[in-house]
Symmetry: C2
Subunit: 201 residues, 2 copies
């Protein structure tokens, strides 16, 4: 098995959602697994002195239009939630917490969170909403709630995941690294496919 691909994202990134629906199958076609790394882009933007795309005048409006069209182009359902961007620290901590005991469950949960946000337009920054999503995967809501709100170690782990991502050059999402080669954006999936096929180009 070749080394896993790294996939950095924020659950609040529309383009990361689009990539999340494709990256595992794409990687698997070329004998690769994918390590998912939820991070908080707000922290990254603050450190980099940038801001969320949708808040930039003119470009922000174009982007909202492009999210929709890119989703249709990729054959994926999409709806920008009313609350956007939204804070995702609970969802990200939940991912790492689940991943320790059951990586497959954490992956299913991550897809569930992305779809709750970008298909159903739900506000997963609201803890009860996130717990409802978790329950659809038979995750104990009470244990999850305690972990994401009170576990200092988990909080620190998410912070460190963000720092590690920045140390690797991450400045936006989705950010995918293959054997050291960085790819930014869902629109780089065709390049990623070619890269995996040919071992670089």
């Amino acid at each position: 098995m070749k080394p896993a691909i790294d996939f950095y994202f924020d659950f609040s990134s529309p383009y990361a959602y689009l990539a999340s629906e494709k990256i595992d199958a794409l990687a698997a076609r070329h004998g690769r697994a994918v390590n998912w790394h939820p991070i908080l882009l707000g922290v990254v933007f603050q450190a980099r002195g940038t801001k969320p795309l949708t808040l930039i005048p003119v470009k922000g409006d174009y982007s909202k239009h492009d999210f929709d069209r890119s989703a249709r182009f990729m054959g994926l359902p999409f709806k920008l939630p009313e609350k956007f961007p939204l804070p995702t620290q609970y969802a990200a901590r939940a991912y790492y917490w689940l991943n320790d005991s059951d990586a497959a469950l954490a992956r299913r949960f991550a897809h569930g969170v992305f779809r709750a946000v970008f298909v159903e337009g739900r506000d997963v920054s609201d803890l009860p909403v996130l717990l409802e999503v978790a329950q659809t995967f038979s995750i104990d809501p009470q244990a999850l709630a305690v972990a994401v709100t009170t576990d200092g170690g988990l909080k620190e782990r998410l912070r460190l995941a963000g720092e590690a991502a920045m140390a690797r050059g991450v400045f936006g999402a989705p950010y995918i690294i293959i054997d050291g080669e960085p790819f930014w954006g869902a629109d780089r999936l065709p390049q990623i496919e070619k890269w995996l096929e040919s071992g670089g180009f």
Copy 2:
């Protein structure tokens, strides 16, 4: 013949160069002509409060890497010139000046300018260099030099082209508009192809 496509660009934009090598043939496959509109992105960035991609920390370094890789992915030669970004008002004015008398020549000249910058790494902001490029297309260098440096009407025309572009939502390059539908970036060429094929999606 269906309405022409509008292609907004700055001769100093690497991604616009990549798009410039593909857009005419792509449009022609679907019975469309392309109207080329060189503009000065510096003016657009100033109005929008943004700045050239390569000058943004971290993202700028990624971008330089991505220019190269995207060119290879698209099968195009590419070299970032030493002087970059570079002012392109002479080249843009020359385009409009030529286009009045010979649209085909203006198009060949535009390709020549893009390739001088992004294949040969030449500084076309230096008037003698631009005139050398013009001469390879049998354009009278003296008449061109007079037009781009002294013709106030031409200067005003370029300014108005930039304003018209901004009025249509242009905030970067390449920016391509098909029947009112805007596409930003060379990486949107696959979406453009599908859009032209299917009349929207």
